[in-house]
Symmetry: C2
Subunit: 104 residues, 2 copies
Amino acid sequence: MIRMDESYKFKKVISIGIVSELTGLSYRQIRYYEEKNLIFPERSEKGTRKYSFIDIEALIDIAGYVEEGVRTLDIKRKLSKQKKEKKMFNELRKGQINAYFGLR
Amino acid sequence: MIRMDESYKFKKVISIGIVSELTGLSYRQIRYYEEKNLIFPERSEKGTRKYSFIDIEALIDIAGYVEEGVRTLDIKRKLSKQKKEKKMFNELRKGQINAYFGLR
DNA sequence: CGTGTAAGGAATTCTGACACG
DNA sequence: CGTGTAAGGAATTCTGACACG
């Protein structure tokens, strides 16, 4: 609520060409990571993929793991684990903020 | 510096089709407002236009003015005026933050 | 002045498959 | 398993122009 700007990060508006440019990955790689359920672009009415900035960040992480030799299935597990940790961290942070400033 | 996320707003990564969808404006209108120097998309190597979220917000503002019957030349003046005011506001805000928390 | 449109071409993206390993 | 590539088609975007007013 404090930072509505965050919404930009999640908005699926970027086509695969730009994603390729920004990540340095090939179209093939980007589509393959989708096939393996590591990222979840949306589709336009006629089928072209649309990505968010968050997807781009995820792809950069994914590419790092792949280079290390991690299999996509294991990357998938890592990512869902990270997601959980992030969620917990946010809960914790909220709690601390409330403890410090008091609930409004 | 506090909010690096802001950078997403300015990154030119959105194609005209998505911009049209998000603003409700026609390609013709979007290109015309560029011709009149109200917005400044970038270009890919081979010429396709790329817009930022900020451009989209500007287009929505512009569309409002056009509907009111304001001419593009006057909209241009309005926008540069707004830009100046925004800048001054930010300077002011920075000053207040420093006054309140002290300079580090 | 601001916008619609038809025109022709160029750039973008899509899918399914074969290849290598 | 992860990625490259050639193939053919479909969707996207570009420019310059004519039209209306």
